[in-house]
Amino acid sequence: MDGWRSWFCGKLSSWGPPLTPDQLIALSILSPAVGALAIALIGRNNDAGYNPRDIVTVIATLITFGFVVKLAGPVVAGDRPELSLFEVLPGLAIAFKIEPLGMLFALVASGLWIPTSIYSFGYMRGHHERHQTRFFVCFAIAISAALGIAFARNLLTLFLFYELLTFSTYPLVTHAGSGKAVKAGRSYLGILIFTSVSFLLLAIVWTWQTTGTLEFRPGGIVSGHFESSRAILLLALFVFGTGKAALMPFHRWLPAAMVAPTPVSALLHAVAVVKAGVFTVLKIIVYVFGIEFLTDGNYALWLCYVAGFTLIAASLVALTKDNLKARLAYSTISQLSYIVLGAALATKTSIVGGGMHIVMHAAGKITLFFCAGAIMVASHKTEISDMKGIGRQMPFTMFAFFIASLSIIGLPPLGGAWSKWYLILGALDAQQFLMVGVLIVSSLLNIAYLLPIVVNAFFFPTTEVEIGGGIKEAPIACVASLLVTAFSCLILFLYPDFFLNLAQMIGEF
C-alpha cells in the first residue's frame, strides 16, 4: 500500500468519535431510520416556508454519510467488519458484513443523498408538492434500506432490505396521489413484488435448501451443488427475480415510476433502487455463484445476450421518447444492463467495470434527473421538443446536463469513461467480441438520444412567443446541487483511484 493511500485510509477511519466497526454498521443503517422518525415527529404541515424537518433531514444525511465514510477506511485497508443481529431461522441470521462492492454502493447511496436532500427542498417548494413530511420520511427509510442491502452478509438480509426498499419507495412513487400516480404505483409495486416473491425468493429458498447456507462467500456457494441446466435456471431466477435491475422484460416499472417527484427519480430510480438491483445481481454472481463457476460452465452466456439486448433495445426506445424523464428512464434501463453485462461476462475486469459503472452512472444520471427536475420547476416543461433554446434561460442547468451527458456517453475527461473502458476490456477478456460491438453501438446510441437535447437547448431559438419571458433558473438549492453532482463527474475521472481500488477488491471477502 503506497503512502498516501494508507494516510488516506487512516484519515478516513480516525476522524470523528471513536466507534468500533460493528457499532458503525448499526449506526449507519440506523441513522437514516432514526432521521425518518425524527422527521415524522418534528415535521409540521407547513410545506411552503421554513420547516424544522429540513434541518433534521440535512443532519441525518450528513451523519449517515459520516458513518459510512468512517467505515470505508478499514474496508479499503482490508478489514471486513461484520455485525450479527438476530438468528431468524436456525443458521440464518440478519447479519451484515462489509465488503468492497457493498462499500462502493453504500458510499454512492449515502453520499448522493446529501445533494438530493438539498435539491428536494428547492424542488418540493418550487413545485408546491403536498405531504412533504411523508416524502422525507419515506426517503430516509429508503436510504436505510439501501444501506442494509449494501452491507448484507447473506441473501436473507439482502432480501429483507430489498423488500423494505420496495415498500418504502412506493409512497414516493404515488406521491402525487392522482389516478395516474396510483396506477403507476401499482405497476411499480406489482412488478417488483411479483419478481422478487416469485423468482428471487424461490431462488433463495432453493439455494438454502440445496446448499444449506445463504452466506456470501468468495468463490460462491453453489458450485458443487448445482450444475448444467439447474445452474442456469437458478441464475435466471436470481437475475429476473431482481426486478430492480430492470432487465427486459421486467423493466416496465422504471418508466412507470417516473410519475414520482423528480428527486425520487433522481436518487432512487437512478441511484439507490436500481443500483440496489444491479448491485444484487453483481453480488449474487460474485459471491453466490462465483466467477470461476460461471465461466467454467459457461452458465452466464445467455445473460450476456439478454443484457446486450436490453442495452440496445432500451436505447432505441429512449430515442423515441419525447418526454425527458421517460427518455432518461429508458437510458437508465440501458445503463443498468451495462452493469448486468459486466457481471454476466464474469471476468475480473468486467466486474471492475460493472462496479465502477455503479458509481459513474450514478453521478451522471442523478445530474441529468436534477436538470430535468430543474427545468420542470422553472419552466413546467416536460417534453424535449418544447425545450428549444432553454439553454439561454437556464445556462447552468443545461451546462450541467451537457457534462453529465458526456459522462454517460463515456467520453473523457468524465467519469463514465473509466467504467466503459473496463467493461470493454472485460468483454475482450471474455472473448465476447459481439459484446464489445454492443457496447460501442450503444455508446453511439447514447450520443444520439442525449446530445440532441443539449443541442436543442443551446443552438435553436425558442419556439415560445414570450421570449425571455417567465423562465428563469430553478431555485438556488436545485442549481447548486446539480452543479455539485456534475462537477463530481469530472472529479471521478481525475481521481478514480479510490473507487477503482474498491472495485478491484471485489471478490475479496
Binding site: 431468524v88 431461522l89 440478519i94 415498500f167 409512497p171 409495486l189 413484488i193 416469485s198 424461490l202 435448501q209
Partner: protein, 491 residues
C-alpha cells in the same frame, strides 16, 4: 397449587364466565374478564415452561386414573396452542376498555363477557384435554358460545350468519362425535394416548377408515377447510368487531390443532400419509383454498369479508404445511398457526378501531382514512405486509418453511404456487391500502385517531408480527420441536 394448573387453566375462565352473570355491572364484568384472561395467559406460560423443562404433564380428574378417568395431557403441542389462545384473549379482551361503542351490544354487556369467557374456556379445554370425548364437549361449549357471540353483531345479517354457522357447526360437531364413537368401538377407550396405542392393531378395519373420514370432515368444517368454508365469511363479517378478531385468531387455530392431533397422535402420520395417501386429497384442496380464497378476497367491498376470505386462504397454507408430513412442512403449518393468529388478530382489531370511528366496514367509506387515523392504518399496513409474507414479518417465516418443505420433497410446482399465491395477497391488501392512503376522504367528517385503549392492543399484536418475524426462537423454535415430537423424533 402448581400441579393443579392444568385444571385451573380451564376451570378459571369457565367459572369466571358464571360469575360474570352474577356481577351484571358492565364495567365490573369487563374488568373482571380482563383479569381472568390475564390469569389464563399466566397459567399457559407457566405450563409451557413446565413442559419444556420436565416433559409431558398428565393431570387426572376426580381420582380416576387414566385411561379410565378424564386426563388432561399437556405436551409441547398443546402448550403451544394454549399460549396462542390465552395470548389472543388477553389482548383482545382489554381492547377498548373505557369505550362502549358499537362492538358490544348495549344492555347485554355482561352476557357478552360471559359468552366470551365461555368461548375461551372451551378453546382452552379442547386444547388441553387428553380425552377424545372431552374434545367434543369443549368443542360444543366453544361453538355454542361463539354462535351467541356472532349473533350479537349489530347488523341483522349477524343472526343469519350465526344460524348458518350453527347448522354447519352442529353437523361438524356431530361428525366428530361419530368419529369418536367409531374409534371407541374399535379400541374400547376414549383416552387419546390409549387410542393411539391400540389403533395400529385395527388399521385394516373399515371402521377406522370411517372414523377418520368423519373426524376429518367434522374438523374440516370447524376449520373452514376449502370447500367447507361456507359459514366463515359471513360469521366473521357480521360478528361484533372484537369477536371477529378473537375468533379469527383462535377458533380455526384450535380446530387445526385438533386436526393435527387426530392425524399425528391418534392415527399416526405413517398410516395417514403412506397407507391412506391423505395428502393426495389435502394438497389440492389447500392449494385451491389459497388461490380461491385470495382471489375472492380481491373482489370484496366489505373489508371484514375481505379478511375472512384471506383467512380461508391462510388456512390453506396451514393444511398444506401439514400435508407435507415432514418436519419443515409441519413446522411451517404450526408456526403459521401462531403467526396468523397474530396478524389476523391485529388486522381485525384495526377494523374494530375503524368501526369505532366511522361505524362502517365498507371499504368505500374508508377513503383517505390513513390521514385521519395514521397509527391505526399503519398497523393495518404492517399486518397486511405480514399477510403477504414480506421478510421481517412473521408471514415470511411461515412461507419460508413451507417453500423449503415443498422443495425438499421435490414438489417444485407447489413451491412456485405458494409464492404466486402470496402475490394475490399483495393485490387484495394493496388495493385497500391505496384507498386508505391515496384517496381523498368522501366528506370532511371529524374522524379522530382511535383511543389508546384500542391502539395499544392492536399494536401489541402488530408489533408481535414484526418482533416474531425476526426473533423466531419462541415460535419457529417451539413449532420445530413440536413437529419433531409429532413425527416421532426427539423433541
Amino acid at each position: 397449587m402448581m400441579e393443579q394448573l392444568p385444571a385451573l387453566q380451564v376451570v378459571l375462565p369457565l367459572f369466571s364466565a358464571l360469575l360474570c352473570l352474577l356481577i351484571r355491572n358492565k364495567t365490573a364484568s369487563r374488568l373482571f374478564s380482563v383479569a381472568v384472561s390475564w390469569g389464563c395467559l399466566a397459567i399457559a406460560l407457566i405450563l409451557l415452561r413446565t413442559v419444556q423443562e420436565t416433559g409431558i404433564i398428565s393431570y387426572h380428574f376426580g381420582g380416576w386414573f387414566p385411561p379410565l378417568g378424564i386426563e388432561y395431557r399437556i405436551d409441547l403441542l398443546n402448550a403451544y396452542v394454549l399460549i396462542i389462545v390465552a395470548m389472543i384473549s388477553a389482548v383482545v379482551l382489554p381492547f377498548g376498555v373505557g369505550h362502549w361503542g358499537l362492538s358490544i351490544p348495549e344492555g347485554r354487556e355482561y352476557l357478552f363477557f360471559c359468552a366470551f369467557l365461555l368461548c375461551i374456556s372451551g378453546l382452552l379445554g379442547i386444547t388441553i384435554t387428553g380425552d377424545a370425548f372431552n374434545v367434543f364437549v369443549f368443542l360444543e361449549i366453544t361453538s355454542l358460545s361463539s354462535y351467541a357471540l356472532i349473533a350479537m353483531g349489530r347488523n341483522r345479517r349477524a343472526l343469519r350468519a350465526a344460524f348458518t354457522y350453527l347448522v354447519m357447526g352442529t353437523v361438524g360437531g356431530t361428525f366428530i362425535l361419530i368419529g369418536i364413537g367409531m374409534m371407541y368401538l374399535e379400541t374400547g377407550t376414549l383416552n387419546m394416548v390409549d387410542i393411539a396405542n391400540r389403533l395400529p392393531l385395527a388399521y385394516g378395519s373399515r371402521t377406522v377408515l370411517v372414523a377418520f373420514a368423519f373426524l376429518t370432515v367434522g374438523v374440516g368444517i370447524k376449520l373452514a377447510v376449502f370447500p367447507l368454508h361456507h359459514w366463515l365469511p359471513n360469521a366473521y363479517s357480521y360478528a361484533p368487531a372484537t369477536v371477529s378478531a378473537f375468533l379469527a385468531a383462535t377458533a380455526t387455530k384450535v380446530s387445526y390443532y385438533v386436526l393435527v392431533r387426530v392425524i399425528f397422535t391418534l392415527f399416526g402420520a405413517a398410516y395417514i400419509f403412506e397407507t391412506l395417501r391423505f395428502h393426495v386429497l389435502l394438497i389440492p384442496l389447500s392449494l385451491l383454498a389459497m388461490f380461491i380464497g385470495s382471489t375472492v378476497a380481491i373482489y370484496q367491498t366489505n373489508i371484514k369479508r375481505l379478511l375472512a376470505y384471506s383467512s380461508i386462504s391462510q388456512i390453506g397454507y396451514m393444511t398444506l404445511g401439514l400435508s407435507f408430513a415432514s418436519i419443515n412442512g409441519l413446522t411451517g403449518g404450526l408456526v403459521h398457526l401462531f403467526n396468523h393468529a397474530l396478524m389476523k388478530g391485529g388486522l381485525f382489531l384495526v377494523l374494530a378501531s375503524v368501526m369505532h370511528s366511522i361505524a362502517s366496514n365498507e371499504i368505500d367509506d374508508m377513503r383517505g382514512l390513513g390521514r385521519k387515523m395514521p397509527f391505526t392504518m399503519a398497523a393495518f399496513v404492517l399486518g397486511g405486509l405480514s399477510l403477504i409474507g414480506v421478510p421481517g414479518t412473521v408471514g415470511f417465516i411461515s412461507k419460508w418453511y413451507l417453500v423449503v418443505a415443498a422443495l425438499e420433497k421435490g414438489w417444485y410446482p407447489i413451491a412456485v404456487l405458494i409464492l404466486l399465491s402470496s402475490f394475490l395477497a399483495v393485490i387484495y391488501i394493496w388495493r385497500v391500502v391505496e384507498i386508505f392512503f391515496f384517496r381523498e376522504p368522501a366528506a370532511e367528517k371529524s374522524i379522530k385517531e382511535a383511543p389508546l385503549s384500542m391502539l395499544i392492543p392492536t399494536w401489541i399484536l402488530i408489533g408481535g408480527t414484526l418482533f416474531f418475524g425476526l426473533q423466531t426462537e419462541w415460535t419457529a423454535g417451539v413449532a420445530g420441536s413440536v413437529a419433531n415430537f409429532l413425527l416421532g423424533g426427539l423433541p
